[in-house]
Symmetry: C2
Subunit: 207 residues, 2 copies
DNA sequence: TGTACATCAGTGAACGCGCGTTCACTGATGTAC
DNA sequence: TGTACATCAGTGAACGCGCGTTCACTGATGTAC
């Protein structure tokens, strides 16, 4: 019998590199979260098993299970903001920038549906959102959107006069589409790109 | 010492009325769900405690815990559809009807945030949605919206030509606002009524 | 260069808990005769 | 009208499980002298 199991043996971190485990723990939590489709599966013991360590080892890095989830959410906000900013690189046309940003937002939600859900549709958030760090990240992401609307208006491509209001309108629509699409695959959705373009142009008041 | 505790003693159902417990179980599940803010708290034992029965008694009415949640979701769809239809009663103006329906939808989401979340933003749904009954209810609710857009267009109050597309756009926006608002109270929301009216008039293409 | 030792990165066993589920049962109530 | 009995609406005790968390520990590794 040929052994197929690749009994992943974890190599213990070298002295002074113990903090590396912290990142591995968060990565494992994300993995379990997205694979299982529910944050209930992200138990302290499941995370430990996934990383290949004993359960108590986690306590050197996180005070409790909730802190791991909070770290996942914080990482999510950083990742989303990065994705948004990256999507704008090299683009000059304000409408193109707006569309690119919105698409990047939806892509993030589609690629990390469970993390996304945790970020925006879970009361656990209360904990992280009170934490200034998570809040600032979320604000930064939203600011990208407000800037996009303002830019389009200033350069004569949109009739928007209330940038904040219109940015909120777009955010609300994007978020709605993101969560509904990932949870209601059976619904008769119209063409995705048409829907998104209509949402953006009407809510950003493109002319 | 004056006894304050109202040790709720449940009266056993009379013969032939055992099925009444089924409704009590669902009601208890909804109560726990909305009070706790998370469906994780809706355990079989917690529901039994809330109703005032022993845990095994539930098995006479539901095969397992998941079936209770499914019943909560089904009830939710019925409740939402009823609320939508009721909101239209006595209204004739198509734009008024559209607004009333949308407001009723948001009110439902605000009044039953956790049930709402379970209905639209949870993969547990997969089970219920495959079930024709739940599906039909959801379709009926959405049909109310499509009819609203069509009616407005036919009566010259909207420029919509693709009723389904525009109804989806409105649904997406309403859903987005509903979940974001209930989970992000700290966000600087614009005036609620202004936001909602703008979403509806732009997405329904009111003229 | 050699060695004693402090420190670091973890481990293994154990705990109490609430959970879903099973099993054999109980006692009130309606019904057949 | 009286009574034996079937049925119905539940109960109580028990199970095995995975969980979060604690505790005392181990063994490799870098460092001071």
């Amino acid at each position: 019998v040929i052994s197929v199991s690749t009994t992943e043996v974890r190599v213990r971190n070298r002295r002074g590199e113990g903090a590396r485990l912290k990142d591995e723990i968060v990565a494992a939590a994300v993995d379990i979260l997205e694979t299982s489709g529910s944050h209930e599966a992200v138990t302290l013991r499941a995370v430990a098993r996934h990383v290949g360590i004993s359960a108590p080892s986690i306590y050197a890095h996180f005070p409790d299970r909730e802190a791991i989830i909070a770290a996942v959410i914080r990482d999510g906000f950083v990742g989303l903001t990065d994705a948004l900013l990256e999507s704008l690189e090299g683009l000059d046309d304000p409408v193109e920038r707006l569309r690119a940003g919105c698409r990047a937002y939806l892509r993030y939600g589609q690629d990390h549906p469970q993390v996304y859900q945790l970020m925006f549709a879970n009361p656990t958030l209360a904990t992280v959102k009170t934490d200034p760090a998570g809040f600032v990240e979320g604000d930064e992401a939203f600011a990208v959107l407000v800037e996009g609307v303002r830019d389009a208006a200033v350069r004569g491509r949109s009739d928007s006069t209330d940038y904040h209001l219109d940015a909120v309108a777009i955010w609300v629509a994007l978020h709605g589409y993101s969560t509904l699409a990932s949870n209601n695959a059976g619904f008769p959705w119209p063409d995705r790109d048409v829907l998104i373009d209509e949402l953006i142009s009407r809510l950003a008041r493109l002319n």
